[in-house]
């Protein structure tokens, strides 16, 4: 049944994030099973029996204390590994910015996404820019920079198949990146509550191969040119 809940990995870093989640899952899963296992075993083993008194353990002696201090140290070691994994992924997705093939602008407002595509000349803020509401068109295997803006309140540009999420803040332009790796059509969500229309602030991302994308650009340009 869980296949329905796994999502396509449609960006270069989607697999990295999934692997990090899996890595953390294995570590905390082992701790979880171990702790619950010992816990329930102790409850069963030391259940009250008639005539038997409990033991008087203070927990001060070293050989007793080690049952706390050793796991304590192990938790710390696991934390170090998780931090290293998390920071590596984070650095790749959010901190560094690879060279872009193209730049788009994403503008949130109550309650729709507006996308500004660079058009045939591949430059933003020129006469042939293509504006769409609710549909973002990108070409597969190309690296995009996005400039994320908001016209009113906070929004969050979330593309689950990319494993990408970034809040949009009025008065700022936040730059991020993604490289789609497979064609398809997927959900874009707003992941920050933005008023009564938050639930309808949906959009679609169309990831197209080079030919389809070029065809879309020419047809969309034709449609917008008077």
């Amino acid at each position: 049944m869980f296949e329905s809940f796994t999502m396509a990995q449609a960006s270069t870093y989607a697999a990295d994030i999934d692997n990090l989640i899996l890595f953390i899952g294995v570590i905390v899963g082992i701790w979880f099973l171990l702790a619950e296992g010992i816990f329930f075993w102790l409850i069963w083993k030391f259940r009250a029996k008639p005539g038997e008194k409990s033991q008087y353990l203070v927990g001060k002696e070293k050989h007793v204390k080690k049952w706390i201090t050793i796991p304590h140290a192990l938790v710390l070691v696991c934390d170090v590994f998780i931090v290293i994994g998390a920071v590596r992924v984070w650095y790749n997705v959010k901190q560094q910015l690879p060279e872009a093939d193209s730049t788009i602008r994403v503008i949130g407002q109550q309650w729709a996404w507006t996308f500004q595509h660079p058009g045939a000349d591949n430059e933003l803020d020129t006469g042939d820019d293509i504006f769409t509401v609710g549909d973002l068109h990108v070409e597969v295997e190309k690296t995009y920079h996005f400039q994320l803006q908001s016209r009113d309140v906070l929004h969050s540009f979330s593309v689950p198949v990319f494993r990408l999420k970034q809040d949009a803040i009025p008065g700022r332009s936040i730059t991020g990146w993604f490289t789609p790796t497979q064609t398809g059509e997927h959900d874009i969500q707003c992941a920050e509550i933005c008023g009564i229309g938050h639930g309808v602030m949906a959009a679609r991302i169309h990831i197209e191969d080079a030919n389809t994308h070029a065809a879309w650009i020419s047809s969309a340009s034709a449609a917008t040119t008077p």
Binding site: I24, S54, A168, P170
Partner: protein, 573 residues
Amino acid sequence: MADTVADVHQHETHGHDDHHHDQGWVSKYLFSTDHKIIGMQYMFTGMFMAVIGGYMAYVFRMQLAFPGISVPGFGQVSPGEYNALITNHGSIMIFWVAMPVLIAAFGNFLIPLMIGADDMVFPRINRLSFQVFFLSSVVLLGSLFVEGGGFGGAWTSYPPLSASGDYNQTHLGASLWLIAVALEFVAFLLGGINFITTLMNSRAPGMKAYDIPLVCWMIVIASILFMLSVGPLLAGAVMLLFDQTLNTGFYDPARGGDPILWQHLFWFFGHPEVYVVLLPAIGITVDVMATFARKKIFGYKMVLYTAVATGVLSFFVWAHHQFIAGIDPRMANVFTITTLLISVPIAEMLFVMIATLYGGSIRLTTPMLWALSFMAEFLIGGVTGIFLGASGADIYFHDTYFVLAHFHYTFFPIAIIGTFCAFTYWFPKMFGRMMNDTLGKIHFWGTIIPFNFIFIPLFVLGMGGQHRRIYNFQHFPEIAGPEYFQLRQLATIALLVMLAFQLVFFYNVIVSWMRGEKAGKNPWKANTLEWTTESPPPHGNWPVDELPTVYRGPYEYGHPDREEDYWPQNLPG
């Protein structure tokens, strides 16, 4: 901190010279300065608010599972109403249930009794604290019925949405919500002063710092954390109120303000706040576990020190709520490290709980079942937090149902399991009668099993990309499939079952209160001082000349020198 024997035992200075004259019902129960009555007032107000919070959860879960239906007892849910419901559900459960019940109700009831004092040091401030809290509850509930409806900008209340009626369409509701929250903080500052001062100054002769029961320590550490963290948020709330009503621009970027400033102020308070409610719950469960495992706590000082360490660390983790909020991405690395570090003291506390069971003689009474389930369930909340504290994984999980399920696995054990644990354990002391154990166990299993069926599906939905605060998922084709709806319905049905079983609890309370078996002074054979007085304790807690003296720590169970397996703190020798 007062490490020495508190030599001043202040029973004469408390204004208890009115011990013996009769008070009217109103002055005795509504305007009382008695810490036990104030504790009860907090408890019943908190439980009333919990019923309202639960009703809200019922309404919006019905809407999520069966979008568009007319919810029985509410009607059709509009998007605005949905937002108001989730916002106020969150606010109520944290500020009007977890805090008043865990800290104020049990803090008030237990601290003087457990340290052998006849009342709080500032009984009138204590009364004022409850009155302000009661006022805040009225303002909050009133905000739901004003024009435009209740505030719907989420309990985190991020501006600019929360700062302007043009954006949130609940101009009055938003301001009243903010005023209610601010009033609630004032109430808890007043209460916290009392807890801290009382613990420092009014302890029974002989009670040293390490003889104080952990639950008292935890409530006091929580009060200190609250006092240190709430200031920035109160300042932020005043600025937000000015933005809403006086049209200032503290959070408006067009006028030089910054919306992210609020997030920093809010979470600088908001994360310590998690530990403000967690620590009392841990204190309660540790105390109950010691009593029913008949075991000394495995490392009293370890629990105490890790609680302090958790408290200190909790001031350096707030930005993990803001990884993707537009803060400098380099900052995320720092906050990932501090956030994961906090797993160390928390894990140690849980290890101590587990180790305490070793060598015990465990009785599975109703309060013990609650205490054990706290440990079992909170662990799930703890380990799933690691995914969210790790910045890389949080990019995907942020603001999904995974987050929601995670913090319900922390807050439900804290606020609900912790409360039931304390309530069933101290019920005999509060009302002088035992609760029915069979009904108690039916209620226990009827709460714990559905609880897991509510929130485990929500973990799966969150991993599947379902994001929060959406009143209807039909606009997002990838999360509107039938499998998604089946899981939503499973969670909702489990919620209905869990809510139904709460009737057993209320029935049990009423029946046991009226006709339960008389409890006597010490039904659980426990060590701490509250069990040395009558049940329920009289005004002044002990007869004036019989206030207890303390000779040993609170957890001397199974001591080899004694025939009985317990050794009350007040017995000489």
